[in-house]
């Protein structure tokens, strides 16, 4: 299954599209980055400016198109500090949801740290060592310490590059005064956590996020080393980073823009970034930093995959999105699988056998199958009115691969699997166009009769054959056990189909002794025949012996 993950960061939005593999792994099939700069002016003002929101929406719109064309079936998204802290952050997210149907999860600082740590755990070879993970974003900095099982202690502080640049970088090149103020601020902010971080202990340090990667790459370059591509799992020494910081502080914007290998869009914020990362490394006594290209968005992918192992396994079993989605909803509602599958099988057999009469095609046939598979899911809510609950669950249960009209049709067909005529005064049915209403009645008629043929939920009807001419249809059932309940239920449940097709339907089955041997064929009476006539017929035919020949006369009640 293909999934896209988007990180709506304060500085930039990142998307990665992956394909899941067996065992909870995935391979990346595409990535993208947009410097949306949501955090610009937001973090100090507390509100997302309209221009930032527009940029954000445009970027997401583009990402959605890209993800869909790459075949992604699910888009995960996570929103961090700029959106989290803005008073209109939720408004923005609601717009994203309404306009693009993407629903980002807002994560708080500690959760962000946990997810980043998770990403590192799965991408960096820690060799059993305890790790410190540092992530410098646009709005916030995360520090996480832990072992091989996950994060144990996390810190999230407002030291992101956009924020610190706005607050402290008042000169270009950075003046000693500004640098001093920034360093003091970082030290003061970190101070309450230092003892805890040191006490937790770590044997290696990993740096993630664009800013750290940029600083790291620059550090290697300045030290005369080749900068590998990709920049993953590359080690940079703290001294090299310190040297890079000193150099950056001495440069002005023009110089930085001209520096090869330094991303132009970061040229203004990288100075603060370098000062922050260098100060952190010094405070914590880190000698060496491992650069890691995985960060928050990979973390949410991993988190999702771990939580959805079953649905991903199902994805492998059902490549067809519609069928997979239907089975997924059915399983969630703890369906009686055997009964549902049998009813679907019989419904399709009836549909195929009556195709000349109803004239519906493959599209409708598929809808009938799905409605049959889902017809009883309403039982999960309550026995009372379960057909209405079935309608509700199908309508709202996020079936994928169907147009809204198709969902509405499936829901209506499933709803009418019991008794009663579909009526225009039922609002959901009445809202359909005339042709669609007829289709629903035809499909529901087939479903209703098929359901009655497994009334006992024992799947005793192995198969059926439709024959007949003119105004009468015969449905001959091949049964494995006594079909009394099924045959008794059939005539009334066949009424809907009789009405929409304009025929009389006779349901027949061989009468069977419980050990499975068939004897005399007996038919359920139609509304025209009387019980006595059927009884007489049954008694007169067949061989004497052990077989019971009880007339199956039933009157309509």
């Amino acid at each position: 299954m293909k999934i896209a993950a988007i990180d709506l960061g304060s500085n930039s939005f990142h998307m990665v599209v992956v394909e899941t593999l067996r065992g909870g792994a995935f391979r990346v099939i595409g990535t993208d980055k947009e410097m949306v700069r949501l955090g610009a002016r937001t973090l100090s003002r507390g509100k997302l400016p309209a221009s930032a929101m527009t940029r954000g929406l445009d970027a997401l719109r583009k990402y959605k198109r890209l993800a869909e064309s790459a075949g992604a079936e699910k888009i995960l998204a996570v929103a961090t500090s700029a959106i989290r802290e803005a008073t209109n952050g939720e408004d923005f997210l609601e717009r994203v949801g309404n306009e693009l149907e993407i629903w980002p999860r807002t994560v708080a600082g500690d959760e962000e740290a946990r997810l980043i740590y998770l990403a590192v755990l799965h991408s960096v070879h820690l060799e059993g060592r305890r790790a410190l993970v540092v992530d410098i974003g646009g709005g916030s900095v995360e520090l996480a310490v832990g072992g091989g099982k996950g994060m144990e202690y996390g810190v999230c502080e407002k030291l992101g590059v956009l924020r610190t640049t706005e607050e402290f970088v008042k000169s270009d090149p950075l003046s000693a005064k500004d640098e001093g103020r920034l360093v003091k601020h970082v030290q003061k902010t970190l101070a309450p956590h230092l003892s805890r971080l040191r006490a937790s202990g770590f044997e290696c340090a990993v740096g993630t996020s664009g800013t750290i990667l940029a600083v790291g790459a620059l550090a290697l370059q300045r030290a005369g080393e080749t900068v590998p591509e990709p920049l993953h799992h590359v080690k940079v020494s703290a001294d090299q980073i310190h040297a890079a910081r000193k150099w950056l502080v001495s440069t002005d914007l023009k110089t930085r823009l001209k520096t090869p290998g330094l991303d132009e869009s970061r040229a203004d914020i990288i100075v603060a970034g370098a000062v922050v990362i260098d100060t952190i490394l010094q405070e914590l006594g880190v000698r060496e930093l491992i650069l890691c290209q995985w960060a928050l968005r990979e973390g949410i992918l991993l988190d999702y995959i771990h939580g959805h192992k079953r649905s991903l396994a199902r994805a492998e079993a059902y490549p067809d999105v519609r069928r997979r989605s239907v089975v997924s909803l059915a399983e969630r509602c703890q369906w009686h699988e055997k009964h549902a599958r049998k009813v679907a099988e019989l419904a399709l057999a009836l549909f195929d056998g009556t195709s000349k009469r109803h004239g519906l095609g493959d599209g409708e046939r598929a809808l009938l199958e799905y409605a049959a598979l889902l017809h009883d899911i309403g039982h999960h809510i309550a026995y009372q009115n379960h057909h209405k609950h079935t309608y509700y669950l199908i309508k709202n249960g996020e079936l994928r691969g169907f147009t809204p009209l198709e969902v509405e049709m499936v829901a209506n067909v499933a709803r009418y699997h019991r008794r009663g005529r579909p009526r225009r005064k039922h609002p959901e049915f009445g809202a359909l166009a005339r042709a669609q209403r007829r289709t629903v009645e035809v499909l529901a008629g087939h479903l209703r009769l098929a359901d009655s043929l497994d009334r006992s939920h024992r799947q005793i009807v192995r198969g059926l054959e439709v024959s007949g001419r003119g105004g009468t249809l015969r449905v001959k059932c091949d049964v494995t056990a006594d079909p009394a309940l099924e045959i008794w239920a059939a005539p009334r449940r066949a009424e809907l189909l009789e009405r929409v097709l304009g025929v009389t339907i006779k349901v027949e089955a061989d009468e069977v002794v419980e050990d499975g041997t068939a004897t005399t064929p007996v038919a359920a009476p139609t509304t025209d025949e009387t019980a006595a006539a059927v009884a007489a017929e049954a008694l007169g035919a067949g061989a004497p012996g052990e077989s019971r020949r009880t007339p199956l006369g039933v009157t309509e009640s």
Binding site: R84, E90, W103, D110, A382, H457, A484, L485
Partner: protein
């Protein structure tokens, strides 16, 4: 909860001495599917109840309703005559407090309102139609009293079953506490009616019944873990009849108990007889013989599902529960017990929809805390407090259907569910409170909301304002806020929050949700963090 009605009494003359210290007799009237019954009793709240009179009149309300959907003229007249007689008896004893209830046979009759009006005019009695949930609650009260300290309630899980005329009431008890309960279409009269046109062999008819019962039992099994029940407590006239036949003389404590196999054998033998044979062999009246077999089959099929090896048949009934409720419901212990039962029933529903239990519990705790802090402002009752707690526990179950619009799905699921101890009307209030836990506020265009009466709508507004604030305080779903106080300051309310860790999201969410609170209560909200605890 029940209404306790009073009968009009003449003013006492000045020379009459004050009434005696013992409580006046009370009465309960129970109108069931095949009989109406009166019990008059006296007793103090804590002590045992002393029965003064017990009268029963056979009236086939169920046969009318389950066959024709309405009560027939003859049946109504017979019922009115019987109730007039009951009223005379109640007057003789000087009963003032009473409760009269009717169950499914009246509830489902299309002319129920007209009928109850005639009852009131003819006899002065106000009859209350109760739903399945209330029946379960009252029956449970009676059983708990009768089986106090009995192993069936003390250890392990028990299934409490009553097969009535219209439907079956079943509760699953964990160490005596009801955690699941429901009403199911296994009523004996109803099942009998559905076979009315059957002309096949008796044997096949019985097989049809069993198939139907199996289908319903399948659904019951989804809602409660039948196999885990190690005791079965069965109530009802049909099973009492069976107990009498199997056990014969009653044991010393008056509690018939029989072995599972003995019951299965008995039912197998009875099922073979047709109606005439039953009437003859057991000297049963026609109406009882008709429903005996469907009822016993239902008990048998349920018993087989459990792991119980014996069945206890206490003579506890809805009437006993009504009496206990009438006399004792104001006791604090009774109220606390009921609260626990309601909450465990609600938690069971939450689990069915795989809710985030720690988040739900945290929001519920904060909700009732805010409710208590704001008591002088909202003027709502303890009963409302309980409804708020349930709405808070279940506000997110809609996520099971779809995260989008989950508040609406929560409303739908709650309205379709049954919680032990809460009436249908109360469930509608709960479902509405849960629906409005997000941004949207109640509006005249929302049908379920407008379906509430005015008082319920006002309560919904206040309770949902509190719930959305409490929910905001666990915006992260990490349960960081442990306690909250509300301190009035000038025209504002200061929300003092005690929590651990970074509460930014909670603060922002709380302020965003406070608008409605301001609209309902007229106060502005200010958020203040109390004692800051370091992250553990």
């Amino acid at each position: 909860m029940g209404r306790k009605n009073t009968l009009p009494r003449p003013e006492p003359t000045p020379n009459v001495p004050p009434p005696p210290q013992t409580a006046r007799p009370v009465a309960v009237v129970d109108m069931g599917a095949s009989a109406i019954r009166l019990v008059v009793a006296e007793g103090a709240a804590e002590g045992p109840l002393h029965l003064l009179e017990e009268v029963s009149r056979g009236v086939l309300l169920g046969k009318d309703t389950f066959t024709h959907g309405r009560l027939g003229a003859a049946t109504i007249e017979a019922t009115l005559k019987a109730l007039e007689g009951f009223r005379r008896i109640m007057d003789t004893y000087g009963v003032i407090r009473y409760r009269a209830v009717a169950t499914s046979a009246v509830r489902e009759a299309s002319n129920a309102d007209a009928f109850l009006d005639r009852v009131r005019l003819r006899t002065g009695l106000e009859v209350e139609v109760i739903d399945g949930s209330e029946e379960n609650r009252l029956t449970y009260l009676a059983v708990r009293e009768r089986l106090a300290q009995h192993p069936a309630l003390e250890d392990g899980d028990a299934l409490l079953v009553e097969i009535g005329g219209g439907s079956a009431d079943i509760s699953f008890l964990r160490k005596g506490q009801p955690v699941h309960s429901g009403t199911y279409p296994l009523g004996s009269i109803r099942m009998r009616q559905s076979l009315a046109g059957w002309q096949g062999s008796h044997e096949q008819g019985m097989r049809l019944l069993v198939r139907h019962i199996h289908n319903v039992v399948d659904d019951i099994r989804r809602e409660m873990p039948l196999r885990e029940a190690r005791h079965v407590i069965a109530l009802g006239g049909d099973v009492r009849f069976a107990a009498g036949e199997i056990v014969g003389d009653l044991p010393a404590d008056g509690l018939p108990v029989f072995e599972r196999d003995a019951f299965v054998r008995f039912v197998d033998s009875v099922v073979g007889y047709d109606m005439e044979q039953l009437v003859e062999k057991y000297h049963l009246p026609q109406s009882e013989a008709e429903t005996l077999v469907p009822a016993l089959l239902a008990y048998r099929e349920l018993l087989i599902e459990t792991s119980a090896d014996r069945v206890t048949v206490p003579d506890a009934s809805l009437r006993d529960g009504l009496l206990l409720d009438l006399v004792r419901s104001d006791q604090p212990q009774g109220i606390e017990d009921l609260r626990k039962q309601v909450l465990s029933s609600a938690a069971a529903i939450g689990e069915r929809y795989r809710y985030d239990a720690p988040h739900a519990r945290n929001v519920a705790d904060l909700s009732v805390r805010l409710f208590d802090e704001l008591r002088s402002e909202h003027g709502l009752s303890d009963r409302h407090r309980l409804l708020l707690e349930v709405a808070a526990l279940l506000h997110d179950i809609g996520n099971y259907v779809n995260i989008r619009g989950h508040h609406k799905h929560s409303q739908y699921l709650i309205a379709a569910s049954e919680i032990f101890g809460l009436s249908q009307d109360e469930m509608h209030v709960v479902s509405n409170v849960a629906r409005y836990h997000r941004r949207a506020v109640p509006s005249k265009s929302h049908l379920p909301y407008m379906g509430l009466d005015r008082e319920a709508r006002v309560a919904t507004n206040k309770l949902s304002a509190i719930l959305r604030l409490a929910n905001a305080l666990d915006a992260d779903h990490l349960q960081k806020v442990k306690d909250v106080h509300v301190v009035p300051e000038d025209e504002n309310w200061v929300l003092e929050v005690e929590g651990a860790g970074d509460l930014t999201m909670e603060r922002l969410a709380a302020l965003a949700r406070a608008d409605y609170l301001t609209e309902v209560f007229g106060r502005k909200l200010v958020f203040r963090e109390g004692r800051q605890r370091p992250w553990p």
